[in-house]
């Protein structure tokens, strides 16, 4: 459950308005695309969700937690219930696939004996059980993104948010990632995905929220890109 109420986000002491008075509701288990031109405020929207940024005004709620009320000290504990995926994967180059995922559990103090089992499970889920010992540079882009997804979902988060997760991938790999995200969605996880990929939005139909200049300009159920409204 995600709820924005009159959310405004300004940067640089009000000189940049990234989001203006945005209100929306995303139900539990929904799969939602966020689209729009570069600089529209999509990443800002995502950052408010995982509390990388704080709303200037309005309230952001995730699972009934008022995210902008969370103190800096408590942010890490909030993050443990949110999975985040990026265009550039953000894997540690000197750690193996296994270590990259186990790291997530180590830093939150999980017992090593539990870590092993959980990591192997999630590797199987993303179809990389045979790559556990590989290093990120030995994998294709699509495989690296699957490692990142494995890392994002290992704590069984209620919400997975993805900022252009297929932005760096070829169409074939993009499809694999989409299939994986849809499978995660089917297990009841809410998914918010920023994308530029028109093809994908039209193929895998889901609710689509369009942001332009910091405002929500369209919010269509399973509508995909509306070509009549394309201005970018």
């Amino acid at each position: 459950m995600i709820k924005f109420t009159n959310v405004t986000k300004m940067y640089r002491k009000g000189r940049v308005h990234a989001l203006n008075n945005v209100s929306l509701f995303i139900g539990k288990g929904e799969f939602v695309y966020v689209i729009g031109p570069t600089g529209a405020g999509k990443s800002t929207f995502i950052k408010l969700l995982y509390r990388e940024e704080k709303a200037t005004s309005g309230t952001v709620e995730v699972n009934n937690i008022k995210v902008n009320k969370i103190s800096n000290r408590k942010v890490p504990f909030y993050r443990r219930h949110i999975g985040v995926i990026f265009q550039d994967f953000k894997l540690l180059p000197k750690k193996t696939v296994y270590e990259n995922i186990a790291f997530t559990l180590e830093v939150i103090g999980k017992h090593p004996s539990l870590i092993r089992k959980q990591v192997l499970n999630v590797l199987q889920l993303v179809g990389l059980e045979d790559k556990a010992k590989a290093f990120p540079h030995e994998l294709s882009g699509g495989q690296q993104q699957r490692v990142a997804i494995a890392r994002a979902i290992i704590n069984d988060p209620a919400v997975v948010i993805a900022d252009e997760p297929t932005g760096n991938l070829d169409p074939e790999s993009s499809k694999e990632i989409m299939n994986l995200l849809e499978e995660i969605s089917r297990r009841g996880t809410t998914i918010v995905m920023v994308t530029h990929d028109r093809q994908m939005v039209n193929t895998y139909k889901h609710r689509t929220i369009t942001i332009e200049s910091g405002y929500i300009s369209h919010d269509t159920m399973g509508g995909g890109y509306n070509d009549n409204l394309q201005t970018w």
Partner: protein, 305 residues
């Protein structure tokens, strides 16, 4: 499990230290120089106060008898008569009075200057020493000046002194130096903290991605900060090793060499070796604290949540 985790953190701290070798090296050197000064200062002041204590406890006033004074008035070995000594005993504040003949004084002097036989032969017949009375004061009385003056007022006494001029000058010099030394120490400690915080800043910079990812997956601030604070502490402790070892070894040598009153009369009590070992421990503690402060500065500035 905790142990293996700590081991991993220590290992990664050393990796950080070696990755910025010259930064770490200069920070460690600054800590070492600072702690050498701290050690010098502490050891000196320990000894000065130890000297002061032994002065107060053991000082004897040496009252020299006028060479032309009536020999029948001074202590006589056979009759045990001692009119001059009795006058001294009658002074207020005096505890004991002991006569030392000029021959005994001469022997002591020759011994002190190294058993030089030829000098002995040369001077034996014209002994330059005087007969003296050694006067000690009652417990708790440390007004040597007043008693010496009173002794000098007695007829037959040429002069009285308590031979601490040197020590008192030492104390004066030390007191004058100590404010300068404290100033230098403070400056050096600030420099060391600055260099450590810069080293840690570099390490933080080198591990930006890792930190960002730790943030992302929900590592607590404490968990993220710990390795950097550990690295600062390790730099501080590494910087303490050389000063601590030098302090213990050099001071041990000085004590050994001075066993027979080589530098300063053995009547003066030096600060003991166990006190110096504590100074060495103190150096490690200061190193660790300086390292911790240095890294905390960078950690709080560059690892804002």
């Amino acid at each position: 499990m905790i142990i293996s985790k700590l081991g991993r953190h220590i290992k990664s701290a050393f990796v950080g230290i070696f990755r910025n070798f010259w930064m770490s090296f200069s920070a460690t050197t600054a800590v070492a120089v600072t702690l050498l000064l701290v050690s010098l200062f502490t050891v000196l002041s320990l000894n000065v106060s130890s000297f002061m204590t032994s002065i107060e406890q053991n000082i004897t006033i040496r009252a020299m008898v006028d060479d032309n004074y009536d020999a029948t008035q001074i202590y006589d070995e056979k009759t045990k008569k001692d009119p001059l000594g009795d006058k001294l005993r009658a002074l207020s504040g005096v505890q004991t009075v002991e006569f030392v003949s000029k021959e005994e004084e001469f022997d002591r002097y020759v011994k002190l200057t190294g058993d030089n036989a030829s000098m002995y032969e040369r001077l034996k017949d014209k002994n330059p020493m005087s007969n003296i009375y050694k006067v000690t004061l009652e417990d708790g009385n440390s007004d040597y000046d007043a008693v010496s003056k009173a002794i000098e007022g007695i007829e037959g006494i040429k002069s009285a002194n308590y031979g601490t001029g040197g020590i008192h000058r030492l104390v004066d010099i030390f007191n004058q130096m100590s404010s300068v030394m404290l100033f230098f120490m403070a400056t050096l400690i600030l420099l060391a903290i600055f260099l450590i915080s810069n080293t840690i800043k570099l390490t933080i910079y080198n591990r930006k991605t890792e930190i960002q990812i730790m943030r992302l997956v929900g590592a607590s601030n404490g968990y993220i900060r710990f390795p950097f604070i550990l690295e600062g502490i390790i730099i501080g402790v590494l910087g303490a090793i050389i000063p601590a070892v030098l302090t213990v070894v050099v001071y041990g040598k000085i004590l050994e060499t001075n066993e027979n009153g080589f530098f300063i009369s053995s009547a003066l009590q030096f600060a003991s070796m166990s006190e110096i070992n504590m100074v060495a421990g103190l150096l490690f503690a200061i190193g660790a604290i300086v390292g911790m402060i240095g890294s905390l500065i960078s950690v709080s500035r560059y690892l804002k949540a």
